[in-house]
Symmetry: C2
């Protein structure tokens, strides 16, 4: 499927002065066909309907070990202390996220080009793709805090100038995701609904929003309506599982009082036909390490 | 089974000046036999091993409605505003818990004497029983905060003078417990281990501990060891389900960012042969509405 995305028209107005109605998006979720990659017809249909797909054993146990060691190396690298790509936990100061890992790690850069990821990303998005954002996340046991409900695309559109929801995220678990240790919750089917948020984006919003998002989140009424309509699913599974999810799916996570930490690799693929333009609803574009502006197709 | 409990000897020393070793308790979990009540041999054995039992459809749908209305009535009763039995959420001020409901509600008093509860409580504890503590809990959607890992018995022993873990709690869900809306997590089998806590009990500790427990909780090392040894289960199920759990089981709950609130009735039965004495590790006994000192057997 091909659809021309005209970046000069804002099809997803958000950060509005007054609450706006949620609406059904016109852009598809799956842009490719079964001939284009590893997902078969049923898998693509399910992904279009639900907005996410969980693949068990997506990477091997030895790869889990390798990437876990890489995460540990990055989060303790003294040369990265104070680097804006390193995000710390608000309360404890522990490293929670490292961004732009394809530039900091050869093995993670290779993973972004691995056919297991690249072929699926190209198939779902129906075009060549590039990495819009990458990161590794570490949520510690006992004091891991969660993330409130949000759509990633709402932020990428408003603050990064991503024209349409033609992007897909791949989250690879490096630890077991139990139902009770702060794993991702998604509302299946919610990706078809765009929810405009209320309030102007402050300058340098990302400096605080990466720790705790306050702008760009839906109202409690909207979340209640959507949770009642769509229900809530959880991304559970062994280390090595992958969750592929649409850029506009409503998702969030609770806190983690268990001793079981949770870490993952997170890679966002965007279609090269959906390259970033100026932010649609923010005073300035976010930095390169959060919103990549090198749109060279991955090979 | 009969066992003499000598209240003059402190068999469960806690609130210690230095960390003490966890130890296996000698008191049984199940004191009665299959002939004594509704639980059959297998159910009693499972309860002894795991320390908890979940019973679906424990009360009917119309009882769920009736008790939910009663909870609503109690939490909005203007004559109870400022009553020490009414506990509010730390952040929002919303009513979170109402204690001693058997004195505030005829229907809840009747529930405490209902054969479905009373026969099981008597069977598990092998004697006549009374209500040590009762409450209704309301955890709102979006901002419900959880409770850190703890053993109830540790507190009841230290602060209420309960000699032995010969008490059992019955939690009846008035809303659906999903895996993701802050329901109870338990460590199956952990009830056999007593974990002394560290630190002297401050005066009036209960005034703050009912909102957020800081004294009487195990160390992260102990929780990690126990979670690895025992694993973690969740109390999930439809409204009307009941969880029966031993007074010493390690349990906790996460927060709730979903729109789905969670409410329940909580009744603690204690053996009349295990009546309260002076607190074992606190400057003064807690108030009557938290630790009932009327040991008259329920009929």
């Amino acid at each position: 499927m091909t659809a021309t995305i005209d970046p000069t028209t804002d099809l997803y107005p958000t950060r509005l002065p007054q609450p706006g109605e949620a609406f059904n998006r016109e852009h598809p979720t799956v842009w490719g066909s079964p001939d284009d990659g590893p997902f078969d017809t049923a898998a693509l249909e399910a992904h279009e309907q639900r907005g996410f797909t969980i693949l068990e054993d997506f990477i091997t146990a030895s790869e889990v070990d390798e990437f876990s060691a890489e995460l540990h190396r990055l989060s303790t690298d003294p040369t990265l202390a104070g680097d804006p790509r390193v995000i710390t936990e608000k309360a404890s100061g522990e490293v929670r996220t490292v961004f732009e890992v394809q530039k900091l790690s050869e093995s993670l850069a290779a993973l972004g080009r691995d056919p297991r990821l690249l072929d699926r990303a190209r198939q779902l998005l129906g075009s060549d793709v590039y990495l819009h954002q990458t990161r590794v996340n570490y949520m510690p046991g006992f004091k891991g805090t969660g993330f409130y409900w949000h759509s990633d695309f709402e932020t990428w559109h408003a603050e990064d100038g991503m024209p349409a929801p033609r992007a897909v995220s791949c989250s690879i678990a490096l630890t077991q995701n139990y139902p009770f240790n702060g794993g991702l919750m998604v509302m299946p089917g919610s990706h078809r609904t765009f929810v405009p948020s209320v309030g102007e984006t402050p300058e340098d919003n990302h400096a605080s929003s990466l720790k705790e998002q306050k702008i760009g989140v839906p109202s409690e009424d909207v979340i209640t309506t959507m949770a009642t309509q769509f229900g809530i699913d959880q991304f559970t599974g062994a280390a090595g599982s992958a969750l592929w999810f649409d850029s506009n799916i409503m998702h969030g996570s609770g806190n983690n009082i268990t001793p079981f930490p949770r870490s993952n690799i997170f890679m966002v693929f965007n279609s090269v036909e959906n390259a970033l333009t100026e932010p649609y609803a923010a005073p300035a574009a976010r930095p390169q390490h959060i919103a990549n502006r090198d749109f060279t197709p991955l090979r």
